[in-house]
């Protein structure tokens, strides 16, 4: 019997996705330590990574990073296949869909902050619908909608600003060392 060796050679894109996903997972784990007043209301710091990847590397990579993060972080936190996981997955899918549309907004007028807030609204919208349809089959869940909407605006704004600041930083870094290294600096460098 001959042993067959399957060798996977990661492309530059693969490593980039892995690196970004790792950063996003780390942020999710850090965030899980923060006590939260209400289930479902959390800053979503990992979305900063998603926003940066979306702007720099496009929507497809952002989808990879976001979904890898949802699965891996939930596995690490012991939440995989728990209700919270499905809420998070629904939110992630909805916000990725929203980002897919929002990336075509004219970039002269709309930046990461817009992307962030729109995605946050898609996120809470999907979560509320899944919660209403599956976990709490009562219209009472919508009673919390204003709280979630408020969180979406505040955290969406903050995450968007952080993403925009990091993107600016990265652009400046690249302008500085672009000619030296001949390739763009990675956000996780």
């Amino acid at each position: 019997m001959t042993r067959s060796v399957i060798e996977l050679i990661p492309t530059a894109e693969d490593s980039r996705i892995a690196r970004h996903a790792a950063a996003a997972i780390a942020l999710t784990l850090v965030e899980a330590v923060i006590p939260l007043p209400l289930p479902g209301v959390k800053p979503g710091l990992a979305n900063i990574v998603t926003l940066i990847v979306l702007t720099r590397w496009g929507w497809r990579e952002a989808v990879w990073v976001a979904l890898l993060r949802v699965f891996a972080a939930n596995l690490l936190l012991g939440q995989f296949l728990a209700p919270g996981f499905f809420l998070g997955l629904a939110g992630a899918l909805a916000s990725l869909g929203m980002l897919g549309a929002a990336q075509y907004l004219p970039s002269r007028w709309f930046g990461p902050v817009s992307h962030s807030i729109l995605a946050a609204f898609a996120h809470i919208g999907a979560q509320l619908l899944v919660a209403r349809w599956w976990l709490v089959p009562h219209d009472g869940v919508f009673y919390l909608a204003p709280v979630f909407a408020g969180a979406a605006v505040v955290f969406g704004l903050v995450n968007g600003l952080v993403a925009a600041a990091l993107l600016r930083e990265l652009r400046q870094q690249e302008a500085g060392e672009g000619e030296m290294r001949g390739k763009p600096a990675l956000p996780t460098d």
Binding site: W109, F110, G111, V113, F142, P146, A149, G150, L161, R168
Partner: protein, 126 residues
């Protein structure tokens, strides 16, 4: 960092922030004022005797087997002002001011219910 964070927001971003905040306030007002009643239903002997809105003050006299029950309506609230029943439970409930609130004068077979958008509970069985 710190300086010039305003540059991070493009004109459309401000609009999105404003729109999000407006949506919040709109959702808050729409959902959290749902407990306000907008009308009353008065029943006598199990049948609807009168329906009224809570906009203007008025009095309704409802005949029952024991005599007249007097319902008093004011803008935003209603009560059983007097009732010939022996224990006066429905009268002592006082003013009802939430959608779904109920006062029942069982001996005289009269009930008063406040109706409204989004009845979150009724005062008998929540």
């Amino acid at each position: 960092m710190g300086a010039g964070w305003r540059e991070l927001l493009r004109p459309g971003d401000w609009a999105v922030v404003a729109l999000g905040a407006a949506l919040c306030i709109y959702a808050g007002m729409g959902l959290w004022t749902a407990g306000a009643p907008d009308g009353v239903i008065v029943r006598a002997g199990g049948k609807v005797f009168a329906e009224a809105d809570l906009a203007a003050a008025r009095r309704i006299e409802v005949p029952g087997p024991l005599g007249l029950t007097l319902i008093e309506i004011e803008p935003g609230r209603a009560r059983v002002a007097s009732d010939p029943g022996p224990r006066q439970y429905c009268v002592r409930q006082g003013w009802l001011d939430r959608a779904g609130a109920v006062a029942i004068c069982a001996p005289n077979e009269v009930s008063l219910v406040l109706t409204g958008r989004g009845n979150d509970y009724d005062s008998l069985g929540y």
